[in-house]
């Protein structure tokens, strides 16, 4: 099962923390969460993957879709604190080469 913790920082940055297995069943929920944030005016989003034990390509696709939505609204989507097993999935698709994961949530939008 998967749970999404969603909060907004003082700087107005949305933080989404999926806890558990982020797979094809959860992918749509993730995408809807991200779209909902952007539509609500939160255009800068950090997806905190520290509590995400597993991630498949469908979930990765949902992240990309969320990124597109955020970019088109003038914002951005960053990912932070992926575990080693999650990074493997990024590597399999070469996403690790174009998308840099951040070491912590707070500074994800600093650079």
């Amino acid at each position: 099962m998967i749970e999404f913790d969603v909060r907004t920082t003082d700087d107005g940055i949305g933080v989404v923390a999926p806890r558990g297995r982020l797979n094809m069943v959860a992918a749509r929920q993730l995408r809807e969460t991200l779209t909902g944030l952007v539509e609500g005016g939160t255009r800068r989003i950090v997806v905190d993957l520290a509590g995400t034990t597993f991630l498949d390509s469908s979930a990765l696709g949902a992240l990309v879709a969320g990124l597109k939505t955020a970019r088109q609204a003038g914002g951005d989507l960053r990912i932070a604190r992926p575990t080693e097993s999650v990074m493997t999935v990024f590597r399999l698709t070469n996403m690790d080469k174009v998308l840099r994961a951040r070491d912590d949530v707070e500074s994800a939008f600093d650079v």
Partner: protein, 672 residues
């Protein structure tokens, strides 16, 4: 697959290869009649083409894989069944959907309705069948035909596996139980089953069935881990498709941004030149964009992540845009102040510009409204230095969109990522083939064009990630579609001899025949043993007789890929056409060819009677002409074919509306 049969096939394939290479080498080295090079060279090239075709066929069947009984699947897999439709009759789609609902293995059935038909939706949902049409994201975006339809559905469903069916492909209840077991292998990405058509008489006048392809050829490709995806009747692992989609996305945005950065300098320079010198502010903005591009390039060179670099770039350009608008607004306000100072204007309510809504002015800050928007080339450039794929409905497109036939390219890319595929040789879905010549020709042209597009855009011979054998297996299918050019030569050569007495070979000597005849015989023997009782002659006929279609597919795909021309792509019509009499006009090139062949027979006879030609050469070429005519005779029966009439009393379903649709591979069927 018995070992004895596989061994026998290999022996015959090996002998065919040896005799073929021996013959063609001898042709090139010792027997080309260089004096008549204009026909001699084309002929030896055509023969070389046929030899390569034969070698690739031999390689294909070298590893004939008979998978036999499939493994039993686990019971807890989740499956979506997709029925792709665009404009097929509703009853046809619903019949397929109902059969899909009856598939025994637990699953969900979806109709992917690219026609967005309210009635189909209502009727499907009344029967508990899911209905999906394109989301709002697709408005004003490239639709990518069936590939787009499937990509759209992938984003709103969540099963681990997908069974893809064309609208007319009625599945049997055990289709999933017979295919899902292969996915026990966790690297298995796709399982293809045959495409079989119920509305085809035994003599198959339109060459609809592809018994050699959906059989030994796919089994052979399977042996090299290169079984093809054929668009319908296949089960796919969602993870494989999605991984492909994301990997393509990552690769393509990277390539796209780098390409944009490379051309950036010249785009800016040209835009600057086209501007009037008094547009100082826009010129200044271009300067800033130029600088932002230089920084982006430098950051990428330093190894910074593409997503960060493009984000910063977009932010900088946004700032530039805002400054431009601010400057414009300042100018406007100054103007307004001047206007307001003029008493007579201030009294005139029509010119009270100062009351303009502030928010309306702020709209100018949007992309389209900003003064920079006028410099379209630069705006396009800026947009392309981003990773959001703004020109597509979805950033991730798992089904390949580079070709009008999405299946081959998608499958090749899956293989490139290291996924395995399987071909399960058991008919588990039955569909409807075209019943008239025109529909059939449109369909074959479309397939051939799709294959040629892939050959030009992503040539398998140079694709990373594929084994050498996989590259050759994909290339083999493309190669068969080049047969149109060889067919022209095989028509022209005997005509040339019988009418002009010009022989493209140096002599019709014993040397010639002892090399050619054994090769031809053993090549046919190879077909015979590989086919194992399946009919192959129809396929061999069409591979020559449809030469105008194959040639047109090559030229139109070439024009499309390299010259940006339209393919004149038409969706295969699914409705039965009103009877319009025999359409001889559709096969004019073939009729002309047949006419010339017949005339050549007459000319040859006359020349023989006058003693101007050698009896042996004349008879040999006459036999060749008669063979050509027999091959082409299939065209006559195709034109005269009036549609399928079942032998037995037709079942009411089919009789009520016999629509037409299509699916099967024409290629590979005639590798001779």
């Amino acid at each position: 697959m018995s070992d004895a049969r596989r061994f026998f096939v290999r022996v015959v394939a090996l002998v065919t290869a040896i005799l073929g290479i021996n013959y063609v080498a001898w042709r090139w080295l010792f027997s080309v009649n260089w004096d008549a090079w204009w026909i001699a060279v084309p002929l030896v090239l055509a023969e070389t083409y046929s030899l390569v075709d034969s070698l690739l066929f031999g390689m294909t069947v070298w590893r004939l894989k008979g998978r036999g009984e499939p493994p039993v699947p686990a019971r807890d897999l989740t499956v979506d069944v997709f029925i792709a439709t665009y404009n097929e009759p509703l009853d046809l789609v619903l019949d397929t959907a109902r059969a899909a609902q009856r598939i025994a293995y637990p699953h969900r059935t979806w109709i992917l309705d690219d026609g967005n038909r309210a009635e189909l939706r209502a009727r499907a949902e009344a029967e508990g069948i899911g209905w999906i049409t394109r989301s709002a994201d697709w408005a004003d975006m490239p639709r990518h035909a069936k590939a787009g339809n499937l990509n759209n559905a992938l984003s709103v469903t969540e099963g681990e596996f997908l069974l893809i069916l064309d609208a007319d492909m009625v599945p049997s209840p055990e289709i999933l139980d017979r295919t899902l077991g292969y996915f026990e292998d966790e690297r298995m990405g796709l399982v293809q089953t045959p495409q079989y058509f119920v509305n085809v008489p035994d003599h198959d006048p339109l060459g609809s069935q592809a018994p050699l392809f959906y059989g030994p050829i796919q089994e052979g490709k399977d042996g090299w881990n290169a079984a093809f995806f054929c668009g319908s009747n296949a089960v796919i692992r969602r993870e494989a498709l999605m991984q492909l989609g994301v990997a393509r996305y990552a690769g393509e945005v990277e390539v796209g941004v780098h390409r944009a950065l490379r051309t950036a300098r010249s785009v800016i320079r040209k835009a600057r030149k086209d501007l009037d010198a008094d547009q100082v502010q826009v010129l200044g903005a271009l300067e800033e964009i130029d600088y932002a591009i230089a920084r982006a390039r430098r950051d990428l060179d330093r190894g910074e992540a593409l997503f960060d670099v493009t984000y910063r770039f977009q932010k900088r350009v946004a700032t530039t845009r805002r400054e431009l608008v601010d400057a414009d607004l300042r100018t406007l306000n100054e103007d307004l102040a001047i206007i307001a100072g003029l008493d007579r204007v201030a009294d005139d309510p029509d010119v009270s510009l100062a009351t303009i809504d502030e928010t309306a002015l702020l709209q100018l800050a949007d992309r389209e409204w900003s003064p920079l928007g006028a410099v379209e080339t630069v705006e396009a450039l800026v947009r392309s230095i981003d990773v959001d794929r703004g020109g597509e409905a979805q950033p991730v497109m798992p089904m390949a969109t580079i070709s009008v036939t999405e299946d081959m390219a998608t499958c090749m890319r899956l293989h490139g990522l290291g996924w395995r595929t399987a071909y399960h040789d058991e008919i588990l879905a039955k569909g409807l083939a075209p019943e008239d010549l025109q529909t059939m020709l449109t369909q074959r042209l479309r397939w051939a064009q799709g294959t040629m597009q892939v050959m030009f855009r992503e040539n398998p011979l140079v694709q990373k990630g594929l084994t050498l054998a996989q590259r050759l297996m994909y290339f083999a299918t493309m190669w068969t579609y080049l047969s149109g050019f060889a067919a022209l030569v095989y028509i022209a050569a005997p005509i040339t001899y019988l009418t002009l007495g010009v022989l493209p070979v140096q002599a019709l000597s014993t040397d010639f025949f002892v090399r050619l005849v054994p090769f031809l015989l053993v090549n046919q023997l190879l077909f015979f043993v590989v086919a194992d009782g399946r009919p192959t002659w129809r396929g061999q006929q069409y591979s020559l007789a449809l030469f105008p279609v194959w040639i047109r597919s090559f030229t139109s795909a070439f024009g499309n890929v390299f010259l940006g021309r339209s393919l004149d792509f038409a969706v295969t019509p699914k409705e039965k056409r009103a009877p319009t009499g025999h359409r001889w006009d559709l096969v004019k090139p073939q009729l002309v060819a047949m006419g010339l062949l017949v005339l050549a027979l007459v000319a040859g006879a006359v020349r023989l009677a006058l003693g101007e030609a050698s009896p042996f050469g004349t008879v040999f070429n006459m036999v060749w002409v008669v063979f050509d005519l027999v091959v082409f005779s299939v065209i006559i029966s195709a034109v005269r074919y009036r549609g399928f009439e079942p032998d037995t009393a037709p079942d009411s379903d089919l009789d009520a509306s016999p629509p037409e649709t299509a699916s099967a591979r024409p290629s590979d069927e005639g590798a001779a």
